[in-house]
Amino acid sequence: MTAILEVSDLTMRFGGLTALDSLSFKVNDHETVGLIGPNGAGKTTAFNVISGVLAPTSGTVHYRGSAITGLPTHRIVRHGVVRTFQSTSVFAKASVLDNIVCGGFVNWETGFVSNLFNGAKTRATQAAARDRAMELIRLAGIEELAHSAAGELSYGHQKRLGLLVALAASPSLLLLDEPAAGLNAEESEELAEFIRSVKQQLQIAVLLVEHHIEMITSLCDRLIVLEYGRKIADGPVAEVRQDPRVVDAYLGVDDDDDA
């Protein structure tokens, strides 16, 4: 197995607060890694730094051998690293289909002149983007919602749409920030199933932040545990779940009833 994502010595300070403290870890090709830890441990901050929303105070991020530290988000997406958001995040006024088409922007960026005159190239890439969006919609089994406005969907559907928007960008590493937050047990089960089938079909790596421990256990090959921005464990799921420090810091205390 080869490491595709390499995070080295990442530190992120907000004023006096150290949200990430010399964090280092790797994600291998096709691997699913769980990133867990109590609220405020720095998981979302790690995503923000990896995806280019924040420039780290120090440390580096490499993806497939290229330094992507501090690059703007839109360039990191072009390397194949795509993230979702912890809260629901959709283009509220656009339809579900258009949301996913937008998510696939990197696949339909054509020249200015072709765009302006709706040239053959633009029509072709737009049609391809729509086809692909429809495929994703079918894969998620929400055909009946394809033309609904995203802002009017239920919370659960908006969360799922966020995932489809990210998938449309053809990631090779998907960063999922609490995809099951706020979903009930049945919905989380469905989502886990969906992530599994997507992973299998697309052969991508996933870095998953989640509190639903069943979901993590069923999906992940490996777990990384954060506490106060520091990595306190990294290994196979079964092993990490037994680690007394992890049980103390996180698993034993508050299970899956986070906000």
Binding site: H74, V77, F85, D98, R132, A166
Partner: protein
């Protein structure tokens, strides 16, 4: 490669087909509204009506430019300055270099475009109110620089010897001639704006204004599209300024104060900033207003302000928002 990553072959489409977007209840409503209206001045054939109609078209062109800029959630208070840059570029080219009128408009577009790219690179990183303030400062800067360069700008006296517009040897300074020219220019402007907004470029604009973090996470480079929107809109203002210089025959730095920008914003909001026709409606309603309200003296500003607040409060989509809703009702959708 997996089944999901394959792209399907694209069905061949006929080359010249009226785009679907044209054939909607909305566009039918606008055509029914505007085509007779556009013909009206020719039928009435009064010099005053021509004059108002020309100003409406001029304001509609300039406001359309601002309509493109606000698509990416940026409100420019420098719109007057870009109209001014275009006006001076065009007027100076005609006066000093004897450039033909149409070519002078190309120069106006270029000058405004270059200035917009430079200013855009500098200030488009700024958020919300800071961007508005920076554009306000630029508008004042433009006015001050022009006042400091009387050899170029004519200083406070302005440029008053701008020759009448001439196209292919045909003088269009007569009111009907200029009206037809500017109506066509407005139609061309609306067509260009429509082309930009219906294209993937417009999609990227909407994504950026709809949800910036998600747009970025989808790989859309916001700065590039913000500069594109700012530049396209400012170029349109520049062309409008060039046409204005030729029509009025006189420009000075005081023609392009920040109030020019504010009036443009008001027309856009009243007309409706979500629709391509919004600027036309705004210009149509507000351009004649000062003439109508002239007798009310000081009250004019108050009436203006009350109308604006009422529109902001009760019709956030402006007048075009109402028309869109009407068109939707007509086409049987809820």
């Amino acid at each position: 490669m997996s089944e999901l990553q394959q792209t399907n072959p694209v069905p061949a489409t006929a080359k010249w087909k009226i785009p679907q977007e044209f054939l909607t209840a909305k566009s039918a409503t606008y055509c029914a509204l505007f085509l007779p209206l556009a013909a009206l001045p020719l039928l009435i054939d009064s010099s005053f009506v021509y004059h108002i109609a020309i100003l409406v078209c001029l304001n509609a062109i300039i406001t359309s430019g601002l309509g493109v800029i606000v698509r990416v959630d940026q409100l420019s208070l420098a719109h007057g300055a870009f109209a001014g840059i275009g006006a001076y570029a065009s007027a100076l080219a005609v006066i000093k270099l004897g450039v033909p009128f149409l070519l002078s408009l190309v120069l106006a577009a270029l000058a405004a475009g270059v200035a917009a790219v430079l200013l855009g690179r500098l200030v488009l990183g700024l958020k919300g109110v800071y961007f508005v303030l920076a554009t306000f400062a630029f508008n004042e800067l433009f006015r001050m620089i022009m006042l400091l360069l009387p050899e170029i700008s004519g200083g406070t006296n302005g440029l008053s010897n701008i020759p009448a517009a001439e196209i292919a040897g045909l003088e269009i300074s007569s009111k009907p001639g200029f009206y037809i020219f500017i109506a066509l220019a407005l139609a061309a402007t609306l067509l260009v704006v429509w082309m930009i907004l219906r294209s993937p470029i417009g999609r990227a604009f909407d994504a950026i204004s709809g949800n910036l973090p998600l747009a970025q996470a989808s790989g859309i480079p916001p700065r590039r599209y913000q500069i594109l929107a700012f530049t396209s809109g400012s170029v349109i203002a520049g062309v409008g300024g060039g046409i204005m210089a030729a029509y009025v025959g006189f420009i000075s730095p005081e023609s392009f104060t920040f109030w020019f920008s504010v009036n443009t914003i008001i027309m856009l909001i009243v007309g409706g900033r979500y629709s391509i026709m919004g600027p036309v409606l705004g210009a149509l309603l507000l351009t004649p207003l000062p003439e109508v309200l002239r007798s009310t003296g000081q009250l004019q500003q108050i009436i203006y302000g009350v109308c604006l607040i009422a529109i902001l409060r009760f019709m956030p989509g402006g007048v075009s928002g109402l028309i869109d809703r009407f068109a939707e009702l007509m086409s049987g959708r809820k």
